[in-house]
Amino acid sequence: MADTVLTERRSRADARPRASRGTRRRRPQWVGYLPYLLPGAVAFGVVIGYPLLTNVYFSLFKWRGGMAPLRWNGLGNYVDLLGDDKFWTSFGNSLAMIVAMVLVPTLLGLVLAAVLFDYLGRRFGERVSSVLRATYYLPQILPVAVAGVLWNWILNSQTGALNVILRGIGIETPPNWLGDPSTALPSVMLVLIWVQLGYPVVIFMAALQRVDPELYEAAELDGAGWWDRFRAITVPQIRPETFVVTLTCTVAALKVFGPIYVLTRGGPESSTLVPSYYSYLNFFDKSQVGYGSAIATVLTLVIVAVALIILGLQNRAERREREGV
């Protein structure tokens, strides 16, 4: 589609008797646009490309940062990572982050979006469904650090709102939500679900706008219940958006830093440690820059690999769908 436009434009341009200078004519058109890429190319080189490579370079050294000397360590940092329990714990916790930021919000968001759009929206009017949608989306707009500070106080074992309420209804020793290794991770996951839920709801409701309503009507006339329609129409129709949500949320879950920093700082006993916080700890707390760089490099590779897998699955699903039709 895009290419036909392109060739059309070119051929028309060629057919036109142009008073162009001889040198111009031989050069393809696009070359003239290269200067517009220059600022972007320089900026990306300086802010993304060079630092990324430098980070990999740092990961091959033992370095305490600042003016301290860099001591060559080869792949030593990576070998150390393999035997580092905290490293494995942090990536294990990434799985929990994926459950809290991708799995639960996407599934719950899918059901909520379908209920709002195709059930409540029709029975109680669009006003009701759009108010509910805005409510679910609210946590998404506040700075994640602010949400974290608020929740940190609510979950505080002594003065926090939750435990004060629990003591008020007669529970003498309510759990120390963020301070106990057995409850810290589930508590953090709940906060993240709360933060994340609105995003899929908004995206999925927008996606449902473009589904042909006659599909639903036809199904309804054939006697399909709400669940049948959800399974047979809603889910397949908005598959592209589901992939976009899964991809962006999975990448966000692997990168999560702010909520961990303000809620638990990776503790207690590393029970909520995640890779990004672990590398930050090594950079700026333990002054093990080389080791921190190695963690960051591994995290980068994991994210790129996961993203490629999801994109690959998406392509395959699209292809299968096209062949199916």
Binding site: L37, Y119, L120, L138, P240, A296
Partner: protein, 294 residues
């Protein structure tokens, strides 16, 4: 727009069908469940509002769920003074606004070359931009930190501005390139026939047409930069340069932080974001969907 007008009659019909066939109590149960989820989402905000203006004694005596017995403003005042809030507010506004403008400009230049110039290898360029958008900031931070030090930009807001201009424009370039890829060629040809240079075509033909998209991008960039935590935390080390989220988080370890101060602080910190969201809500919801559909 066309979709919306198509929808209307079908929905009216559907409602008519529904009211004829379904009058059960089931729909109230579903509504109750959806409202319950909404209340669960709102609960922390409610608790925050209830306790932001409640004195510590009142909190100790009556707990978090009671209405405040009087209007207690010491929490707000304490937070305001301790964080020097006006400075933090200005820092956040300044950084986010400059990033929004510069990021949109950089996205436009990139997208002009990719979407309209159709430079060779553009798919690879876009893939690189997308990749840049996905990178964990941890993989860039230490080199960026040392680079900022070596050029005298340590603890400078400009280091944060430069970094976020690039990071945000990675997404902006991706979105805007696909928008400009469908730009009507007739307009460009007409301008070229009139002898307009590429530079003039960009500003007098392309720019006015994509201005709505650019404004959505700028709102996005503003909010995203406003909410950023990691890079400002590392790069901005002194009180006079920090942004609101960093100021709030750095108060956390403070023993003087009592319940009203925390709640008032959270409240004051999220007011600008909520105001901004309410003002630009319409543009935003359009933008969220624009980002979702490939």
């Amino acid at each position: 727009m066309a979709v919306a007008t198509d929808l209307r009659p079908a929905q009216v019909r559907a409602t008519a069908v529904d009211s004829r066939y379904r009058r059960g109590a089931g729909r109230w149960l579903v509504l109750a469940a959806a409202v319950l989820v909404g209340l669960a989402v709102l609960a922390p905000f409610g608790i925050m509002l209830l306790n932001a203006f409640k004195s510590p004694q009142d909190y100790a005596a009556n707990g978090p769920l009671s209405l405040p017995s009087g209007l207690y403003l010491d929490g707000v005042v304490a937070f305001w003074e301790r964080t020097e809030f006006p400075v933090k507010l200005w820092n956040s506004v300044f950084i986010s606004a400059v990033v929004a403008v510069l990021g949109a400009l950089l996205s436009l230049l990139n997208a002009y070359a990719i979407g309209i110039g159709r430079v060779k290898g553009r798919l690879w360029i876009i893939a690189l931009f997308l990749l840049a958008n996905m990178l964990p900031q941890e993989a860039l931070i230490y080199p960026l930190f040392t680079m900022a030090q070596s050029v005298g930009l340590s603890n400078s807001q400009w280091s944060v501005i430069i970094i976020f201009t690039v990071i945000q424009s990675a997404f902006g370039t991706y979105l805007l390139s696909s928008v400009l890829g469908t730009f009507p060629p007739a307009l460009l040809e007409a301008a070229a026939l009139d002898g307009a240079s590429r530079w003039r075509i960009l500003w007098q033909v392309v720019f006015p047409i994509v201005r709505p998209t650019l404004s959505v991008l700028m709102i996005f960039f503003f909010i995203w930069t406003w909410n950023e935590f990691f890079i400002p935390l590392v790069m901005l080390t002194s009180n006079d340069t920090q942004t609101i989220p960093i100021a709030l988080a750095s108060l956390q370890g403070d023993r003087m932080m009592d319940a009203p101060t925390i709640n008032a602080g959270s409240l004051v910190s999220l007011v600008p974001a909520v105001l901004f969201f309410l003002i630009f809500q319409r543009t935003l919801t359009r933008g969220v969907t624009a980002g979702a559909v490939k």
